[in-house]
Subunit: 196 residues, 2 copies
DNA sequence: CCTTGTCCCGACCGATCGTTCGGTTACTCT
DNA sequence: AGAGTAACCGAACGATCGGTCGGGACAAGG
């Protein structure tokens, strides 16, 4: 066996607590005192596990970005018709967004005040750009309507998907990832799919 | 004549500066020092015009909320078929959101740390509820597809519309309010409109 | 037993937070 | 010119910020 240690904090378990507080109060609105209360350890003890507040943010957004970029490496996102690859990516985005909900939530709210935040924004733009190219390819193949500009459509679709973090809560008997992904796909492609 | 005063700050002109900084750095990430630098007056002078930081936030979100609720009082939002009223509201939401862009942007980012923020969130929920009722009526009249739950569809449509504040910038020769409203309406109702 | 290293703590650091205060400048009105 | 006042400022307030420090509790290995 590898890990059957003690009942104590690790950087990962501490991160899950921190991200939750960050999402409730906002990153700038959260003090290390808030984190220590939520974690149940003293403020100084936090620095035994992580370098500081900004490292917690970096770990969180990294996890979210890894999940999103991982989608683009999957087979169904790389081969096939552009429209089908696009639909696959859209559905997987919803699933990843829900699976890593607090981390993606935090990622989508960074403003760019610190170096870590600016790095996160840059990687987000890179991901958006990759998906926009996919939509452009689908439009070129004639499977997506052409009367709405590609860049504008991409932004609006991202807006719809990303807004899930504002209301989806996994408590109890709510809808699961698949149901939300289906609804999003129906709304997005019912409006995007070429009628002719 | 009423106002041909001096070249000095009023609560309104100060507000426009403050809202811009709030949106760049986030409300919690903005200090009164930041505001004084951006406004070009000393920190203490700000308190000659407004009671404090939170009043600036309250004035800003009030302006945004007034614009949004004003839509529901307009004639085209009150009379006619539900589907047509809904489309009118969606288009007007885009227009108001762009006309009052910085104020609505700030409204959509409040987290609920202070009393003012919680009040803003409550009024937002009230507005969302009013629009959701409109969509429900349109579904009951058969003009909107019924295979996607009303509440879910409302949230996704709001997500798409509200995301405009994340990328729309009025600089130079960009697209105007009407063009964005048309694109949103096409995407939203191309997916919402009943095919049968 | 004693050492070693993990985990944690209270006390404290300089800096910055939103806000207050006493006083000065500059414009308006008579 | 003089009075009144709106606009503004530098200095300082107590509180809180993110982060540091020296040391204590506790388990594992000898």
């Amino acid at each position: 066996m590898t890990t059957a240690k003690r009942d104590t904090y690790t950087p990962e378990t501490l991160l899950s607590v921190a991200v939750q507080v960050f999402n409730e109060r906002g990153y700038d609105g959260t003090s290390m005192e808030h984190l220590s209360k939520a974690a149940g350890i003293s403020k100084s003890s936090i620095y035994h596990h992580v370098a500081g507040k900004e490292e917690l943010l970096r770990r969180a957004v990294s996890r979210a970005l890894d999940g999103l970029f991982g989608i683009l490496d999957e087979e169904h996102a790389r081969v096939g018709h552009a429209a089908e690859r696009l639909e696959y990516v859209v559905r997987r985005m919803v699933e990843v967004l829900i699976a890593e909900l607090p981390y993606v939530t935090l990622l989508l709210r960074v403003r760019g005040n610190t170096g870590t935040e600016r790095w996160a924004l840059e990687r987000r733009r890179e991901f958006d750009h990759r998906v926009a190219e996919l939509l452009k390819a689908a439009a070129a193949e004639g499977d997506v309507r052409g009367d709405v500009e590609v860049r504008l459509a991409t932004r609006l679709v991202f807006g719809m998907i990303n807004s899930i973090v504002e209301w989806y809560r996994p408590d109890g008997r709510g809808m699961n990832e698949r149901e939300v992904a289906d609804a999003v796909a129906q709304l997005v492609f019912g409006g995007l799919r070429n009628a002719g």
